[in-house]
Amino acid sequence: MVKDEITIKNIDKNLNEIGYVSNKEITTAMFLALSLNKPILIEGPPGVGKTELAKAIAKSLNREFFRIQCYEGITFEQIIGEWNYQKQLLHLESSKGKNQDENSIFNNEYFIKRPLLNAFMNENDSLLLIDEIDKADEEVESFLLQALGEKEVTVNDLGTFQLNNDLIVILTSNSQRMLLDETKDRCLFLYIPYPSVEREMKIVKSKIPEVDDGLSRKVVNLVHRIRDLNLTKKPSVRATVDWVNSVENLNTKNVDQALIDSVGVAVKSESDKKRVMKDIFKQ
């Protein structure tokens, strides 16, 4: 798909072909991100397909995929790159006595590039996923503002790098902390909630095409009832797919018993499990 052909319909079709079940909300937001060339911030509970969407878009547009997985304590060096001190020291040692400019050790050759810079410098069109941005510290988020808003990155002693390709930036967040207003302002916003029963059925079908419709409907309905309980951790879409898979693999005639036996696939804590057994399975 080339840029001229980007339409809401095409995006929807391509995502479907790759196996990502989209909806109008998702497709419209992605269409805008591509057309306006703006970063997009995707929020939603864990396991609803935020990261998967970024991967699917990269695949459908045939773009190179770069990923920054954020966590508490991630530093600029891990995002943008760092100086190769050992190589610089070796160079200085080897050039002792020679009349060489000391600044020569501050060039590209001595700089180890990390995902952000790699994505910026790449000659081919790329997609950069900044995953779970809410886990990173505010300093890192502020640092990313330049990249998100002005499409350039500044590295100390090395200079400012302009964007070399048509880069799409996708940020995901689980709302663990409030993001900066400045970050939100630079991005389009897409909230992906837990899917409706019908969409979740389609997702299960796309992941496990050979699954029996009756079984998948049963599991999806069950998961929706579980999500209505006030649990510590609600089952994700990933959990629904895994649960259907588990019941299939148990290969027993008594589906209800298989569902009970494999409930741990969807419910991840002992206290939640007790509650589900009591309120849903009446045990």
Binding site: I8, K24, E25, T28, A29, F31, L32, S35, L36, K38, I40, L41, E43, P45, E72, G73, S175, Q176, R177, M178, D181, K184, D185, R186, L188, F189, L190, Y191, P193, Y194, R227, N230, K234, S271, K274, R275
Partner: protein, 385 residues
Amino acid sequence: MKAKIIYLSNQLRDKGLNVSIRSTQTALDTCEIIGVNDLVSLKRALRSVYVKDKYDMIKFDEIFDQCFIKPPLTDESKKVKKNSNMNAGKAGGKSNKYVIKKKNAKVHKKPNKMGMEQIKQLSGTPVLDDRENLEREGELLNKDLTKLNKFDPRMLELCQQLGRRIANKRSRRNKLAKTNKVDIRRTMRKNIKYGGVPVELIKAKPKRHKNEHLFLNDISGSCEWISSWFFMLMYSCQTAFKNSRVFEFDNKVIETTDALKQDYLLNAFADVRTLRMRNAMVHGTSNMYSAFNLFKKQAKLNNKSYVVLLSDCRDWAGPKIDGIPASVEVLQDIVRDSKKVVILNPEDKNKWDVVDSCVSLYENVGAKVFEVSTLNQLADFVVQM
């Protein structure tokens, strides 16, 4: 279209959404790309431009409908409408009363239904009856808890989230404290064989802190509400405190530590309510003299005890000696016996030391007093603890 978009931006700003000039510009670009004929698609697209928080989606939808589906009345159209209404009245076909009633019913019913469905779609967020009061998480966290006059289930959810975050932060801080220190003595000894060049660094073994945190919450009428929130916060971050005990007082003291071990917060809270009722501690008046004395006996304080007292420092029913509350002396004993005593006061600082508030008296005997009235302030304090 430009005028309409600017009007929409202004309306959204009036309703409390952060709409920048950049957003307005993006919205104009969006209109060019999407077109204005298909309003459903345009609404969907503009939602992703203007809305930056899931709780603002409902507000946006309403304002978009007002601007695009039901355009605002200009002065001229208002005049025309007024005249036509007057004429309708004169014609005598239908009464004005009927028309207005019917219109109102339409305006209120439809968005309410849509709104509730949409909130429900934001799964994970409990449904509120009063959607006008949907606020963003940031606003809720900074809301004065003492001024809350109704129970908002989302506060409960936020409180739990905040508690989990505190536990994460504290455990990360503890891990860093354990791993980043170098044991200089052992490093030097180890590196003698390299001629004193520190080739191998020996990390210090973590010191075992045996601090015990004792939380004493005032549940007399004036503090009951904030004490409940504090209990919920403590429930959610209890894993971060290895040795902690929780007490509640008005003129008696009860220990509620066991309630923290419940699997669910609501069950834990129900347990605490039962304990309070059993001990006739509902809307009581505080007698800090007797409460502190009882606490001293029950808690068995030592130099590793860290006492956190949540109270407005108003000793209503306590005895006084020469006009000074007797509880001051007991608190002095508690300060002496423990490592540190901190008082979290939910009252506004302007009200401290007014009438029967004895903040200064408590400070004079060594307690540190902090103003804490929002969930964020509470959380910040617990992180620093």
